[in-house]
Amino acid sequence: MSGKENTASEHSVVDDLYTESGHWNLNTGEETIHAKRMGGYWRNIKWLSASAWIIFFIGPYFQWGNRQAVLFDIPHRQFHILGVTVLPQDFWMLSLTLLFFALLLAVATALAGRIFCGFFCFQTIWTDVFTWLEENLEGNPQKRRRLEKAPWSFSKIRIKTTKHLMWLLISVFTGISFVAWFYDVFDLWRDLFLLQAGSVAYGTIALFTAGTYLMAGFMREQVCFWLCPYARIQGVMIDKTTVVPSYDFHRGEPRGRLRKGQPEEERTTGDCVDCKQCIAVCPTGVDIRHGQQEGCIMCALCIDACDEVMEKIGRPKGLVRFESYESLEANKRPHPLYKRPRVWVYSAIMSLALFGIAYGLTSLAPLELKVIHDRQPLFVLQSDGSIQNKYTLKILNKMTADIAVTISAEGPEGLVMVDEDLVTTARRGKVTARTVFVRVPKPLLSAETTPMVFSVQGEYDGQLLQSSRQSVFIGPKR
């Protein structure tokens, strides 16, 4: 191949890129997307999945015993979840919970693409509710665009003010509901009305209000395009076997307008009539017929739109449908689930995380003991010839009442704990520290370090509580 040809082919590649980019219309927020709203199967599913977020608003009002059922009490470092109270010391379970949900996202994405984005994400749901309000106040997309361009008039101001007030109302309520998970909800409402809530509460409500109002009201799909990391991460979890909303190009191409009166057998075009309804309903403004793309949140609204058109013109539904690239491309049957190792690996890690959480929740110890051996000095020689070690014992009491506890030590022969009978009050929900001296006659020590065990015992409600911790007794070098 001559050098000249080489340059020529390179040029054509670059030119192709420029041509492509010319067609690639990337909306970076200059243009507000006014998506058409229409009913349908997936629309109903979407409302259903969105209603899961009602828990976010009403959850804090549920009571359990004499307290809020779920309360993340940060000032008191206590986390109440129904009947369980978790202290920060048991927070390793949180990492397992996060792991579980991260993998749940991964496995859901591997199977069905970004369905979290399309059906559950707060950005999608809140935007959906905001645009629903917009549609009800300002009318359909054409009317909205016209209103946008219209000069300021009394009715425009009235409509816009109403819309923004309602958006703000939802935003404020979102902020308050978020804070209510961390702040007794009835106290919160009282404090808010009396203007007595703390600055953290006001600040959080303000942040959430501003965030909700801006992101759901103005930024909308731009958040999914540029702000959200999960949107990008999920891209790499999708493979050829993932079932995603897809345009059946075998069936649809070549596109062509519907010609009235033309007999079906004379038609040379595919099923797609290029009505662009799939673009009109898309909340992120993408054209699903270009295939899988970064803007697609897989909300399936284009499926509803296309199905409705297909029904009207008497062609089979499902020109746009949930389908994997593999089965579309080769017209193959979908890849069986058991042949997809990543799904198995994800599920295995998820079950491990679940087991861990279940284990953690069922084995929450009411008393926990930590032992810190004094370093300077490691030991001292006493005048009676015994070696003394000093320990700081930290007793964590996870119960809701103070408990009187005794401490005992077991270890090398001749071991004596000073003040063994002393009763310590382990304060509820707190760590109580106590200094303990242990002595062993020097001749009885056979090694420089000897293992020993501290135990703490207490009684609560007729139930014997106990916790032990291994430590060492240190003596002089032999």
Binding site: T28, G29, P377, V380, L381, Q382, S383, Q388, K390
Partner: protein, 283 residues
């Protein structure tokens, strides 16, 4: 360059490489510009509210009058306010009373750690473990008594025990015998212990006398630890021969605890006594 731009009508900057790779002047995304101007406004507002512009000797002070030093002083005041309650109570109490109150002694141990680090730890170690040539405070062997009053007095007045150098009084063989008896933990087994007058200071039983600051010779705990490479026996002999703080003997052991009455307040000394007592073996 614009004259021979091969791509007329395009918004390129005229920077063209390899014939067709060119720099376009597309504006940044809208959200980026909003964020950019928002941060510019933030910067201006911040500069008005907070100290910022380095003009002259003093930077501009900011209209809300915040300063790092004020915040620091407020923080110190807050801590002092929390401590005040304990401090006023401690003021009217003796060290013994503080010890009897578990809450106050806990406060004392927590709050006086820094003072111990500044004034005592250089010789006695951060945990009272002592150092080469300096007494251990964590054990129960006290030269001048381990009662809380004794400890307080040691800090206030300082201590300087005296032991005469015995190199001219005792023969080498006698020193040898005594040193071995002490090493065996039974000094009274050597008749010289009584005959040569050791008992005058170390007592009939060899257990020392707190009033004089004389050492207990029976418990195996040594005030003067052997130097590098020296045996314990040699170290004992050195002490017997050269004494402690004996000005006539150049090789004498030096053992001086300075007085802290001029350096620390009575209150601080009281608290330090409690702290030392709590090392474990106050009596």
């Amino acid at each position: 360059m614009a004259d021979n731009n091969p791509f007329p009508g395009e918004n390129n900057t005229g920077h063209i490489w390899d014939d067709n790779i060119r720099e376009l002047s597309n504006p940044p995304p809208r959200w980026w510009m909003i964020a950019f101007w928002a941060s510019v406004i933030w910067w201006i507002v911040y500069g008005v509210l907070y100290p910022m512009w380095p003009i002259g000797q003093q930077p501009t002070q900011g209209i809300i009058g915040w300063s790092q030093m004020d915040e620091y002083r407020q923080g110190v005041d807050e801590v002092e306010a929390v401590r005040a309650e304990f401090e006023t109570r401690i003021k009217g109490m003796t060290a013994k009373d503080i010890l009897a109150d578990s809450g106050l002694s806990q406060y004392t141990v927590a709050s006086v750690k820094v003072l111990f680090g500044d004034n005592c730890a250089a010789c006695h170690g951060s945990g009272g473990q002592g150092g080469p040539g300096f007494p251990v405070l964590a054990d129960d062997d006290w030269l001048f008594g381990g009662a809380i009053e004794n400890i307080g007095q040691s800090i206030t007045m300082g201590r300087k025990g005296i032991m005469t150098a015995h190199s001219k009084i005792l023969s080498d063989a006698e020193v040898d015998g005594l040193a071995n008896a002490i090493l065996g933990g039974n000094p009274t087994s050597d008749p010289n212990f009584a005959q040569k007058g050791c008992v005058a200071c170390h007592g009939m039983d060899g257990k020392g006398m707190a009033v004089l600051g004389s050492a207990n010779l029976t418990d195996g705990i040594y005030r003067f630890v052997p130097a590098e490479g020296e045996s314990l026996l040699d170290s004992i002999k050195h002490t017997i021969k050269n004494g402690v703080n004996d000005v006539t003997e150049p090789k004498t052991r030096e053992a001086v605890m300075p007085s802290f009455s001029g350096r620390l307040s009575e209150n601080d000394i009281k608290k330090l006594a409690v702290y030392v007592y709590k090392f474990g073996s106050g009596q």
